[in-house]
């Protein structure tokens, strides 16, 4: 048991780490296939399996809130209702047009959703039967009930009905069956007309958060805050068309200064000096701030991050860092 819990994960981590480290330096086809197999198959299978647990967890979280009538349980109720609605909408037609002839698709998204519901229902039911504390057991039981009903309705009522309808009228693309989610399906209608606007609304709130954060950061209470305020204003003005119009030093003045300097240090004046120099405006200052001090700081941070990533990789590969496995020592 100790071997399975402590040693085996470390051995797997070490072997996987070494294999993929070496893989980076091996350009052969076998090496590429190995990477492809891992990223395209294993990772997706792992994610798929974990996603069921994730959905169960989310449902349990909201269900518990509803049953205990915690603060904001109404939102949880809405979340579960919308969750169920989206699953049901996946069963509805991509396009309710009826084409005569042809065979029925063997696997539809509706069937897939029904299968997923049944699977979640079965897992919840098993979890309910295995026991646990009262409150959680109750929520698992309710989850099992809801999902088994949803899955059963999808798989044993809607699908056969649709199939019967199909057989009756000899159509291949009946209402409730579609190989893919079509742009004019109910699911996509919900997605385009409910989810996307709500998502965009949340994103647009960012502008107000930026304003309030900037107000806090730009209060010139110290030298750093003052420098931030000035450079921030310069960059903001420099990134809009106004920045190009705000000329601080005209080109003629710059040329005369540079010519005077070259005369002072006894260097020849380049013949194309007037064409190489340009007006010093806010945009050029903003460009310098972004490309010089800002880039230098970012690269410094990035170098530290990369070295740290190598170090943490080594700690994990050699089993020195084991917290992520669920055990420190």
């Amino acid at each position: 048991m100790q071997f399975l819990k402590r040693r085996l994960p470390v051995i797997i981590a070490f072997c996987a780490g070494m294999v993929f480290w070496v893989q980076y330096y091996v350009p052969s086809q076998a090496s590429q296939d190995l990477l492809e197999t891992f990223t395209a198959s294993w990772a997706i299978i792992l994610f798929g399996a974990a996603f069921i647990l994730g959905v169960l967890s989310a449902i349990e979280h909201h269900w518990t809130k509803i049953t205990l009538k915690k603060a904001g349980y109404g939102y949880s109720l809405v979340a579960l209702l919308v969750f169920g609605t989206m699953i049901l909408s996946g069963w509805f037609p991509a396009q309710p047009s009826i084409r005569l002839g042809g065979a029925a698709p063997t696997l539809s998204w509706g069937m897939l959703a029904a299968t997923l519901c049944l699977l979640i229902g079965i897992v919840s039911a098993v979890s309910y039967l295995l026991g646990g504390n009262g409150e959680r057991r109750y929520s698992r039981g309710m989850t099992a009930l809801v999902f088994l009903i949803l899955g059963a309705v999808g798989a044993f009522v809607i699908q056969p009905l649709a199939s019967g309808y199909m057989l009756l009228w000899k159509v291949s693309n009946p209402a409730f069956i579609g190989q893919t989610i079509k742009p004019d399906s109910m699911f996509m209608w919900f997605f385009d007309h409910c989810f996307v606007p709500l998502d965009s609304t949340m994103f647009s709130l960012l502008a107000f958060y930026i304003a309030s954060a900037a107000f806090r950061a730009f209060r010139a209470r110290s030298f750093e805050a003052t420098a931030l305020l000035i450079s921030g204003c310069l960059v903001m003005i420099g990134r809009v068309p106004l920045g190009e119009q705000l000329i601080l030093i005209p080109k003629g003045v710059l040329v005369s200064w540079y010519t005077a300097y070259l005369h002072l240090v006894n260097l020849p004046v380049p013949p194309d000096l007037a064409t190489t120099l340009a007006d010093l405006n806010i945009t050029s200052i903003a460009g310098w701030i972004l490309n010089s001090p800002n880039s230098a700081a970012q690269r410094g941070i990035l170098l530290g991050v990369i070295l740290s990533q190598v170090a943490i990789s080594l700690r994990i590969m050699f089993g020195i860092e084991r917290t992520y496995m669920g055990g420190g020592e």
């Binding site: 980076y24 330096y25 091996v26 350009p27 052969s28 086809q29 090496s31 990772a43 792992l46 994610f47 974990a50 996603f51 647990l53 994730g54 959905v55 967890s57 989310a58 349990e60 979280h61 518990t64 603060a71 939102y75 959680r136 989810f195 709500l198 998502d199 949340m202 994103f203 709130l205 960012l206 958060y209 309030s212 954060a213 900037a214 806090r216 950061a217 970012q298 941070i301 990035l302 170098l303 530290g304 991050v305 070295l307 740290s308 990533q309 190598v310 170090a311 943490i312 990789s313 080594l314 700690r315 050699f318 020195i320 860092e321 917290t323 992520y324 496995m325 669920g326 055990g327 420190g328």
Partner: protein, 472 residues
């Protein structure tokens, strides 16, 4: 009559040799290197055979066969070379050539397979946009001979499949290909056969040799410091304010009877910053268990949720408080970015956690989470290596772990000598990089200064830059 006829005769006699002179070069050129009359706009994309005689350009653009009696205007390539692409999986060839063309000169290629020419699947490449040998140090080194030579990579050809549709077929490894370079200039084009070569699969990417050596060197340094820490566990590590405040934040939450909120970022567990965040979660969970406080971990990724549950469970177990562990406190919310933000902000507003830990990789949601947390009056400790989000965290959070501090946090909080040893090794690596940066800057500057006409040559002053630059 004579007065008119004589000058006309003279003009005619003079005009004859001039006309002959004017025709001679054209005839000669046509015989030497005939070119097609009407090539297509993208000659390299035409089918290899079957085009009608009225448009002979299509097959000829690939095969290079040219009808006789046409004018020679296509620039001629020189120093042509066909070779296997180095350090690859054996599915590509390189064509190297020198060519002085115009802005409109285009390049294509064809391969001969079973007696039939097929065009290589290329975008109608302008000569000017092709890389030179000097642009590809991964293949030819930093100072290759003939650095101005153009390099064309070919790895696919177009073939008509059984359904009569064009199909792009990749080159096979360990297969011989006869290749022709096609130069298109305006309405003219010409093919130049380059010979035959074999694609070879390589088992080591030579272009990555510098990074391999440096990573091995760095790994050795870190491992030696880790094992040195076993003998001398009293290592000095500089104080990190954000991590010193962890206890204070959890203690405050305990006193107020409010939960501690931990967010692992939005990246999956395959990202190192998420692993670092989960590691920190383990340390925080142990302290929360010791203080008998409450911990909330809303997750964005179901895999991260599963691992977090296990990590927190073990932390509670190690703290001797397995009874206090509640699995439903580490839960999955959604994998949609702004839905997640809405949900977490809702939790912040309703539950009013006294301490928020925002650790891992964040995107646009960083500021929304941090601002909402700030408005609830919670102590906020953030840590990320997302450079674009760092300013937002610095602005809105009480403490921010910048870049590498996020990775050091787990070791710092654990105070385990071996983990701290790796931090020391990291510092040595950073010192080495700083030294290299300074040396590289000096050498590069000196290289620029001495690169004047008549100055000393033959020494690559920029060698440090070359040593550390990515080759591909």
């Amino acid at each position: 009559m004579t007065r008119v006829a004589f000058p006309m005769l003279c003009c005619l006699l003079l005009a004859l040799p001039l006309g002959a002179l004017a025709q001679e070069p054209a005839a000669g050129a046509g015989a030497a290197a005939p070119a097609a009359a009407t090539p297509p706009p993208a000659a390299a994309e035409q089918p290899a055979s079957g085009a009608p005689p009225a448009a002979p350009a299509a097959p000829d653009a690939v095969t290079g066969a040219t009808p006789p009696g046409t004018h020679q205007v296509v620039p001629q390539p020189s120093n042509t070379l066909l070779m296997d692409r180095p350090s690859d999986d054996g599915t590509a060839l390189l064509i190297i050539f020198n060519l002085i063309g115009t802005e409109t000169t285009r390049i294509g290629a064809g391969v001969l397979l079973d007696g039939t020419w097929y065009r290589c699947t290329l975008r109608p490449g302008l000569l000017a946009t092709l890389p030179t040998k000097a642009d590809l140090p991964g293949y030819f080194g930093w100072r290759p001979p003939n650095p101005e030579a153009k390099v064309l990579t070919i790895d696919r050809y177009t073939k008509t499949n059984a359904a009569g549709e064009p199909e792009s077929v990749p080159f096979e490894k360990d297969h011989e290909y006869t290749v022709r370079l096609v130069v298109v200039e305006g309405e003219q084009f010409e093919g130049f056969e380059l010979g035959t070569t074999r694609t070879k699969e390589q088992w080591f990417n030579l272009a990555g040799a510098n990074s391999l050596i440096l990573s091995v060197l760095f790994a050795v340094v870190i491992m030696s410091f880790i094992y040195a820490a076993r003998r001398n566990p009293n290592l000095f590590i500089r104080r990190i304010q954000g991590l010193e405040a962890v206890d204070e934040a959890i203690g405050r939450a305990t006193e107020m009877g409010k939960p501690v909120l931990h967010i692992n970022g939005l990246d999956p567990l395959s990202t190192l910053s998420t692993i670092a965040a989960v590691n920190i979660l383990g340390r925080i969970a142990r302290r929360v268990a010791n203080y008998e406080s409450d911990l909330l971990v809303p997750c964005f990724d179901p895999v991260v949720m599963t691992v977090s549950q296990e990590v927190v469970k073990n932390a509670y177990l190690e703290a001797g408080r397995p009874d206090a562990y509640r699995e439903d406190k580490i839960f999955f919310l959604t994998d949609q970015q702004f839905s997640y933000v809405a949900s977490v902000c809702g939790i912040m507003m309703r539950e009013k956690p006294a301490a928020n830990f925002l650790l891992g990789y964040f995107y646009a949601e960083a500021l929304m989470l941090a601002e909402t947390g700030s408005s609830t009056g919670a102590i906020q400790i953030a840590g990320t290596d997302a450079l674009a989000q760092l300013p937002f965290f610095v602005t809105t959070c009480d403490y921010t772990l910048i870049g590498e501090e996020l990775y050091a946090a787990s070791a710092y909080l654990s105070r385990e000598p071996m983990l701290l040893g790796s931090l020391k090794g990291q510092d040595v690596g950073k010192a080495f990089v700083m030294l290299i940066i300074v040396l590289g800057t000096v050498f590069s500057t000196v290289g620029m200064l001495v690169a004047q006409p008549g100055a000393m040559t033959g020494f690559d002053w920029d060698w440090i830059t070359h040593l550390l630059s990515p080759l591909m």
